[in-house]
Amino acid sequence: MISIKNLHAKIEGKKILKGINLEVKPGEVHAIMGPNGSGKSTLASVLTGRDGYEITDGSVIFENKNLLDLDTEERAREGIFLAFQYPVEIPGVSTTNFLKTALNQIRQHRGEKNLDAVSFLKLVKSKMKLVDIDQSLLSRSLNEGFSGGEKKRNEIFQMAMLEPKLSILDETDSGLDIDALRIVANGVNSLKSKDNASILITHYQRLLDYIMPDFVHVLFDGKIVKTGNKSLALELEEKGYDWIKVKHSSLETI
């Protein structure tokens, strides 16, 4: 589905990604873990086309398309979705209004007809249950005055509405209490299919108690330095990141 090769990126002249290689196939869940400042969020930003990042080397092929050539909205229409670490508050724009616009632009891109108001509402109702989100919340200004949990649930709700091929969840567990975490994880799990894939970016392995990854990667200093299965996450939980830092730094000095 997505093939990232030797990806290098910098922001304001500072090198952040220093050769990322990652292959994600349909049906897979990949977790990317790593200490603060290792480049996790930068990877999410680069994959979704946020301004300010300069790609200095490497390639990203998504469904046979060169992803890096596409604008943010084109990537979304191709099926990439980012659940934000800090969802943005937009006063005056309601979630339903904005989602209708987004969904119809995605549908137009796929050559499908716009959804009429009735079918749209039907869809909203069916997806609302998934993350236990209240309708009144959806008619309010996007994320404005939402609690941390409500914001994250709204992200997963949007994901459910837009049905992306590849979802990137950037620290979706941060700031969530255990109940909210369970709701969000349930939402993600029930959206999982053999045709779509997810990349979970997380600092703690807590989220992985609820969403079972097929692969766990450790990102350190702009590179994936270790790949394993769920047990790697548990090992990290136990030992912290220091042993990886030591090991990796010592490699460099040799």
């Binding site: 990537r75 937009i90 005056g92 724009v93 616009t101 987004a102 632009q105 891109h109 200004s141």
Partner: protein, 413 residues
């Protein structure tokens, strides 16, 4: 004032003199003398620092070349809103009772005499030159329909100098709703110097909504002065979209307890449009309230100026006064000057003021785009949401829609 301008203004006056009632000629002449002994404001005048009317007029308007045309191919009625109410026509600055469609005869009067006081050069200019004054007056137990005022200007044959003059009186326990719109044709410059005085008496309410979507050769000064008695309510909504110069002076004088004043504005400007809103609220009695919110989106080489003054006099205890001016600057060439001013002499009051000037929120834009919404549409969504907050207080649903359409047309294209 420069001799050429003095001569120009004098010529216009002499040409019009025959139209003026002889009984008020002396008053007009004293107003004229006031004008000629002063200068149009300049960069040196604090109140006009960013709107140097003198330079703007010198560059764009010549009194000597103005014409006084009574004929036009305008079909006024074509522009009337399809609604019950009073449809009042002004042509080139003077009120046209016979072209108007009046529902409440008893409320609309024409006054030819000139006896109004004047405080500054534009005031005086209007008092010297206005041909007639429209007086809108509503009494208790009389349910008036809305007043739609249309200002038509025809500058196909030459420059137009228009001086509309309106007096509005809401007697106790009445409610008046007014909507103003301007329609012009022709390409010669038009200089509009409008003077509107409002008196909201005890327990009355007056609501004025203005749409300012002028051609680029229209230069307008608008002096709106409001006096409010005890327990009265005044609402002003002003929406500016285009014009060579739009200067709105709004002065509210609260002269009794429990007065309420609301001021809402939106300017959405591009090209070389220049919009300047100056407002002043004077709280003189206890338990008063004022709320002001002006929003602006400024693009290309447009220029926006805002100055809001709130005075809370020593007697005006328990006053609540709020003021906010929020701007989004979309271009490197655009300029925004904003200045809130709060002067408080009372000690038991609740007041706040603030202004912001910012760019479009890039983070919000990215968020919307990351969901598949195209860049321009995402921009429009954010800006429309920002603008629409200023529409909440319009009493006419159809005007809300009309302005909403204007905003969308401008932002989505």
């Amino acid at each position: 004032m420069e001799t050429s301008v003095v001569n120009g203004i004098r010529d216009v006056f002499n040409n019009n003199e025959a139209n003026y009632q002889s009984s008020s000629l002396a008053h007009r002449k004293s107003a004229l003398d006031f004008v000629l002994s002063h200068n149009f404001p300049d960069r040196k005048d604090e109140e006009y620092k960013y709107t140097p009317v003198n330079q703007i007029l010198k560059k764009n308007f010549n009194f000597k070349n103005t014409i006084t045309s009574k004929t036009t191919d305008f079909d006024f009625e074509d522009y009337f809103y399809q609604l019950e109410g009073n449809h009042l026509v002004f042509f080139n600055g003077s009120y046209q009772p016979f072209q108007s469609k009046i529902y409440n005869e008893i409320c609309c009067h024409l006054e030819k005499k000139s006896n109004q006081s004047f405080h500054d050069i534009f005031d005086a200019l209007n008092v010297a030159f206005y041909e007639n004054s429209l007086k809108i007056e509503v009494n208790k137990n009389y349910r008036s329909q809305p007043f739609f005022i249309y200002y038509f200007y025809d500058s196909q044959q030459g420059q137009i100098f228009g001086n509309p003059n309106i007096q509005i009186v809401g007697h106790p326990d009445t409610r008046i709703e007014i909507l103003e719109n301007t329609i012009s044709k022709g390409t010669y410059p038009v200089f509009i110097n409008k003077k509107v005085s409002v008196h909201v008496k005890t327990n009355a309410e007056i609501n004025i909504t203005k749409i300012q979507n002028y051609k680029k050769h229209v230069y307008q000064i608008y002096n709106l002065e409001v006096n409010q008695d005890t327990q009265s309510k005044f609402n002003s909504n002003v929406y500016s979209f285009a014009g060579g110069l739009i200067r709105n002076n709004l002065k509210i004088n609260q002269m009794g307890e429990n007065c309420e004043s609301h001021m809402h504005g939106l300017y959405l400007i591009t090209g070389h449009t220049h919009v300047d809103n100056h407002t002043a609220v004077n709280h003189t009695h206890p338990h008063s309230y004022s709320n002001e919110l002006y929003k602006g989106i400024v693009d290309e080489s447009a220029r926006a100026v805002f100055n809001g003054k709130i005075f809370v006099r020593p007697e005006a205890q328990k006053t609540n006064a709020f003021q906010s001016n929020q701007n989004i600057n979309l271009s490197d060439e655009a300029s925004i000057y904003t200045k809130p001013q709060l002067e408080i002499w009372a000690d038991d009051v609740k007041c706040s003021h603030g202004c912001t000037v910012g760019q479009l929120d890039e983070e919000a834009l990215f968020y919307l785009r990351s969901r598949g919404i195209g860049k321009n549409q995402a921009k429009a969504l954010i800006l429309i949401a920002f603008s629409e907050q200023s529409l909440e207080h319009i009493p006419f649903e159809f005007v809300k829609k009309e302005i909403d359409t204007l905003i969308r047309k401008r932002l989505i294209g």
